[in-house]
């Protein structure tokens, strides 16, 4: 049983490293190998979801590396494996653009393996290890076309931002150990003693927000769009971005352990959903729009985690994975064909390639939250959980849902129009388009679109209660009778309104004040803020400390050395001048005394007698006085 779980993790990882290590030799067969490995992983995932195996191995002193597939993990593994397979099939289609296939598929498989470990890990160290490997894989994939500097810079930004947040997990691990959870078991984390539980929660929340691009850290997702489209589809839509939400869903018990954990997470989620929705609406680049929408949709999952709606969050996560992967793949297809992802230039793209257009439309409508489709159902469950918490949260969520409808319709409006005559000027602005969509690209799109629609079934109470039992939170609030139609109505009206406004002029501004639009378009100015508040001062501090180190600390050593030399000189001089002079003076006085001593030796006998007489007189006086 446990072998199945080790195999689940090992297949993608070993395949990935093998592909990476072989370098250029396996470039030609790489796509096929990649797809095969992904298929095998999907099989294993489904098997493990059914069998729910468990395995663990000793890692550190008293801390084990445990893996277990429970309700939540089962759903997640299947989703990850499925999306990975779909994306790899799509990237097989895009073979000529991804020239170094070995490296690409290797990294994708490596990432998939890491994600699978993340969702099945039961102890914090193993989770942290997989968490970081995902970050590294994302860095390598974003900077895949490493010859272009802007892509590698984006990769660095993405990696460093997520790593900054990941520090939280390191601190969480330490806090857990200090708080008494010696085995660092995820389920037991809520039991940490005293003040450590706050640090633990803070760490986990920070890491989750960083990875899921929630409000303070959301700008890295916009930079991550430099990655090839399959990467965006897999990493930055379905799996990695959702990992943070998954972590919060997994540790919702911990969030409840502290008073401020739940509300903070909920409100951040809601705020991100709303603000990033607005940002999405203001984008002119299709992938940037989709990225911002990813942040806002994950905002919903975080909101669900904050309000205890684990099943709702899982539903939202699953649905969103399918929808957003589909949308990104569609965008990727068009980018491959037309060489651009600017919305004005993509006018009529859906008509040119019906299949891609149909899939894109389906997913976009689902994204908008229109009634029969998946996201509408999942979103309502999230809003129900939020409503149980506080009405304000429900209101913000509803507003965010409306905004999501707006930007989806905006994208649709552009794509569905007929291609204008002068459209070709907008083509090939970013890549050299091939003006065709390879056959391999079509199936994944269709599958994902079908999934996006099919998951609407979640709205049915039976299905949702089954999900609740699987996930293990049976008493979760389900959407009440009036909530479903209300959200449907809101979504429809928002969509119709957006279509009308969009339709009036060539590029009508959805947001009146220009300043707000520019602010929203620039992803709420978060990146500039991060750069000025964090990056620039740290770099300046680094240069300052470097100079300080060279001048002051090293200077001190050199000054000490010079002082020693001068002291030595001083000693030499004082030695010559002082002591030696003293010795010479003694010699001189001795010589003078010698000369003086010779003066009484005059050779004159009578003077000797005189001296003798005086001597004896003194002697006798001395003797007399002494007695």
């Amino acid at each position: 049983m446990s072998a199945l779980l080790w195999l689940l993790a090992a297949v993608p990882l070993t395949a990935g490293t093998a592909l990476l290590l072989t370098g250029r030799r396996l470039d030609r067969p790489a796509p096929a190998l990649g797809v095969a490995a992904a298929a095998a992983t999907l099989g294993l995932a489904v098997a493990s979801a059914v069998l729910r195996p468990e395995a663990s191995a000793p890692l550190f002193a008293g801390i084990r590396a445990g893996l277990r597939v429970d309700g939540l993990s089962a759903v997640m593994t299947v989703v990850v494996a499925a999306v990975t397979l779909a994306v790899l099939v799509f990237s097989a289609g895009e073979k000529d653009r991804l020239s170094q296939g070995g490296r690409f598929h290797g990294l994708m498989l490596l990432f998939a393996g890491a994600m699978l470990i993340t969702v099945t890990a039961t102890t914090l160290p193993l989770l942290l290890m997989a968490w970081e490997v995902m970050g590294a894989a994302s860095w390598a994939l974003i900077g895949f076309w490493w010859r272009q500097p802007q892509r590698t810079r984006a990769a660095d930004t993405a990696f460093l931002t997520t790593r900054t947040a990941d520090l939280g997990l390191y601190l969480a691990a330490g806090a857990a150990l200090a708080g008494g959870v010696t085995a660092l078991d995820l389920d037991a984390l809520a039991g940490a003693r005293g003040p450590w539980v706050h640090l633990l929660t803070a760490g986990v929340v920070a890491a989750a927000f960083g990875k899921s691009a929630q409000l303070p850290f959301s700008f890295w997702l916009s930079r991550a769009m430099q990655a090839p489209s399959p990467v965006s589809a897999l990493l930055h839509a379905a799996t990695m971005a959702a990992a943070g939400a998954y972590l919060l869903l997994r540790l919702h018990a911990l969030l409840e352990a502290t008073a401020w954990g739940g509300p903070l997470v909920a409100w951040t989620g809601a705020a991100t959903a709303l603000l990033l929705g607005v940002a999405a609406a203001a984008q002119r680049d299709l992938k940037q729009l989709l990225a911002a929408s990813t942040c806002s949709q994950i905002g919903f999952m975080v909101l669900a985690a904050g309000t205890g709606g684990v099943a709702a969050g899982t539903a939202q996560l699953t649905a969103h994975a399918a929808v957003k992967a589909g949308l990104f793949l569609a965008a990727g297809a068009w980018l491959y064909a037309l060489g651009t992802k600017q919305l004005p230039a993509l006018r009529g793209a859906a008509r040119a390639w019906q299949w891609v257009g149909a899939a894109f439309t389906a997913c976009a409508l689902a994204l908008a939250g229109l009634p029969p489709l998946s996201l509408w159902a999942a979103k309502d469950e999230v809003l129900a959980a939020a409503f149980a918490q506080s009405a304000a949260l429900y209101a913000t969520g509803l507003a965010a849902a409306a905004v999501s409808a707006v930007y989806s319709v905006k994208a649709l409006w552009y794509v569905l129009r007929e291609t204008p005559g002068d459209a070709w000027q907008g083509y090939d602005t970013e890549e050299s388009g091939t003006r065709r969509v390879t056959p391999l690209m079509r199936p994944p799109l269709l599958v994902l679109a079908a999934a996006a629609v099919a998951l609407g079934v979640l709205a049915l109470p039976g299905v949702f209660s089954a999900l609740r039992d699987a996930v293990g939170t049976p008493d979760e609030p389900s959407p009440s009778a009036w909530q479903l139609p209300l959200s449907a109505a809101v979504a429809l009206s928002a969509a119709w309104l957006a279509w009308r406004i969009q339709g009036r002029g060539p590029g009508p501004r959805l947001l009146r004040p220009a300043a707000v639009r520019r602010w929203a378009a620039g992803w709420l100015g978060l990146e500039q803020a991060a750069r000025t508040l964090a990056v620039r001062p740290v770099l300046a501090l680094a240069r300052a400390t470097a100079v300080f180190d060279d001048r002051v600390v090293d200077g001190a050593v050199h000054r000490a050395a010079r002082a020693a030399l001068t002291a030595a000189g001083l000693a030499r001089r004082s030695d010559d001048g002082g002591v030696d002079a003293l010795v010479r003076a003694v010699a001189r006085t001795a010589r003078r005394l010698g000369r003086a001593a010779r003066r009484p030796q005059t050779g004159l006998l009578h003077q000797y007698y005189a001296q003798a007489a005086v001597g004896f007189a003194v002697l006798t006086l001395l003797l007399l006085s002494l007695r």
Partner: protein, 100 residues
């Protein structure tokens, strides 16, 4: 009485000393020394007579002093002869080779 004898001895000794110190001629210096030893003899005899006549020590000192006087005179003349023969001088001042 003893003090008088001792005063006499002191006087003789001092005059002898004055002579030895002031005279240049070697012979005159020897005469000075002779007088000093005579002072000593007087003192010895007086001390023997007034303090310890029972023992002969006083007399032995006098004998010694006399021998000393004799030796001094003999060596004095021998040295004067030798110096005179080699240097043709007879005054102490001229023989000042051992100067420092």
């Amino acid at each position: 009485m003893l003090e008088l004898f001792l005063l006499l001895a002191a006087a003789l000794f001092s005059v002898g000393l004055y002579g030895a110190l002031s005279q240049q001629s070697i012979v005159m210096i020897m005469m000075g020394i002779e007088l000093m030893i005579a002072g000593v003899i007087t003192a010895a005899a007086a001390l023997w007579h007034f303090l310890a006549p029972a023992a002969a020590d006083g007399q032995v000192i006098v004998v010694a002093a006399v021998v000393a006087m004799a030796v001094e005179m003999a060596m004095g003349f021998a040295v004067t002869t030798a110096v005179f023969r080699s240097r043709d001088i007879d005054t102490a001042d001229a023989a000042e080779d051992l100067k420092g």
